[in-house]
């Protein structure tokens, strides 16, 4: 674009002196926080998945090897970790549906905040269903 503006002439100087404005944390709303969570959970799941495939691959090595590794998944500490993991997956999945609805459903944008709260509600319900059952399995053995 041949268009010039005032910025042009002093461009060189500016790029060396301009600090990036950071400042306070931006106070976004439901949309932003849901994205932050979606991102964090996505990354967490990804790294877990890398490990999970590797450990599952041990079944190709030998039953003992596999059982040793999977045994560590059954300790109480890991049991709590699994709750976190499932929590992450469940949030990521439900919020993923919310995002897909925003993208493809005509009313999605309008109801995005409501859908965020529905995601939270469904997440709570799902976790209420899962956590006790799982922790009983972890701690009763």
């Amino acid at each position: 674009m041949p268009q010039q503006t005032a910025g042009t002439l002093t461009a060189a100087k500016k790029s060396t002196t301009s600090p990036r404005p950071a400042g306070t944390l931006y106070r976004g709303r439901e949309g932003m926080w849901s994205w932050v969570l979606h991102r964090i959970t996505g990354v967490a799941i990804f790294f877990f998945l890398l490990v999970h495939i590797l450990d599952t691959a041990l079944i190709r090595v030998s039953p003992e090897a596999y059982n040793v590794v999977i045994g560590t998944y059954q300790t109480p500490l890991m049991g709590l970790g699994e709750v976190a993991l499932v929590g992450a997956i469940v949030f990521h999945a439900y919020n993923g549906i919310r995002i897909i609805l925003i993208d493809f459903w005509a009313g999605g944008v309008k109801y995005q905040k409501l859908m965020f709260y529905i995601v939270i509600a469904l997440w709570v319900i799902t976790m209420l269903g899962f956590t006790p059952r799982h922790l009983i399995n972890v701690f009763s053995h």
Binding site: P2, Q3, Q4, T5, A6, G7, T8, L9, A11, S15
Partner: protein, 604 residues
Amino acid sequence: MTQSSSFDSADHTIVDGVHYHQFDVVIVGAGGAGMRAAIEAGPHAKTAVISKLYPTRSHTGAAQGGMAAALANVEEDNWEWHTFDTIKGGDYLVDQDAAEILAKEAIDAVLDLENMGLPFNRTPEGKIDQRRFGGHTRDHGKAPVRRACYAADRTGHMILQTLYQNCVKHGINFFNEYYVLDLVMTNVDGVDQPSGVVAYDLSTGELHVFQAKAIIFATGGFGKIYKTTSNAHTLTGDGVGIIWRKGLPLEDMEFFQFHPTGLAGLGILLTEGARGEGAILRNASGERFMERYAPTIKDLAPRDIVARCMVQEVAEGRGAGPNKDYVYLDCTHLGAEVLETKLPDITEFARTYLGVDPVTEPVPVMPTAHYAMGGIPTNVNAEVLRDNTTVVPGLYAAGECACVSVHGSNRLGTNSLLDINVFGKRAGNNAVEYVKTAEFTPLPKDPAAAVRGLIDGIRNSTGTERVSVLRKELQDMMDAKAQVFRTDESLAEVTQTIHTLRERYKNVAVQDKGRRFNTDLLEAVELGFLLDLAEVVVYSARNRKESRGGHMRDDYPNRDDETYMKHTMAYLSGDPHSADAADHIRLDWKPVTVTRYQPMERKY
């Protein structure tokens, strides 16, 4: 970084810290008028637009109601009726040849904008819709006519955006946040000829000299001489002030328009389009008082009349509110639908700034300083005049800063957006024609000297006066004594105040001594222009001992065609710092061009 391809060394050099540029056409101001000119000039000549604001920040964007053109899309209309309304609305102080051009070229001006992409509201057939506006009538005043083309209540916003979009399309060169502070004149054979402008780059504090064959001033109005105004903080009349300081005349400066419906106390405008859609002005007792003053077109009478009636209602004790100091604009009967679709922005303004919902409550309003009818005198080709007849070759002015004069003593609503388009286009075209044959006028030695002196003077001043204090005193005084109603006595008082303020201004100092983005400094410079212009306004007003259009003298309540059917021309002559304005302002007259319509009494 953005490419700087067009700044090759040939047209950009730096000498002694001052940047020098060369363009065929330099346009000062990127509002509606400036960008309309740029669209004509840009493709045909090497053009630069210099603006103290980013183009889309210009105050044209605040215009709401519409732009007049006799398209006759919704009802019978023609440009002759439009011409008549413009002349009558301006209380016959209009140059009729110019008004005729305005009304005739209006149609193309609107179609040009539509073709450039402006999203006008549409009729059911898909044509440009039109609405009623004050003073626009069918068949010479018989009834209101639908003449204003509009885009909801953001017509000016759409015009500004559309023009900027087309400037982008044409790749116009912009110098944004560059404040033009001087016009460079070179003495050639004993005559001063414009050779360029000097601009201050806000971001660096450096000076830039733009040498040009043709210079177009389109710097907008100067409503900031008043306190209550619909104008932006940045409308400080720099362009008009620069021309004034060069000894060139200013025309009809006493005529300032007060728009009837500013949000009370704030001045934020509620468009006349609201009344065009049927809103009604009421006093404290709920009476539709305009019926008494203008029985035929009532609330849609021209602005000067409505503003006066409002002030009179309040003066006679019929004002509303705890202090009985405003009247109401009643939109409640229009219904939420009309307000939300046709007047969404003003509905929001009332809600945001006064906490009043126009759907259910009447909105407190009072007149607000709105539009300068006067300014830099030009002929119909937008060429700036040195006296009553001689043009300054290569110097043009268009838009609110200019006085063609199509608005006479009172502008009709929607005629200004029209003015900036018609005469902006003419300025651009004529400048292009001019540069085809013209040569560059050589720059004088150190053309930036005066501006450097001005800037350094203020920056280094150790004075004790503060800009904000002086400005507030000026604005308060102008509101109190030189507003809708004036008398010799009140004007004499302001003259005195302005004189002391000008003295104190010499002692003004700024706190920010830096170079980069020193807005403190520029506010001081702007105040200088405000003081100069306020003085001319008041001085011209004192001299016109009659009441006409926007100039209402309590001590001379009648129009006096015998003596005053002529334009005021004010010149700076003598020592600008002399105590008595009479020692440095010289007034003269310029005849009004009358072609078809003889002055009559103005009745609505």
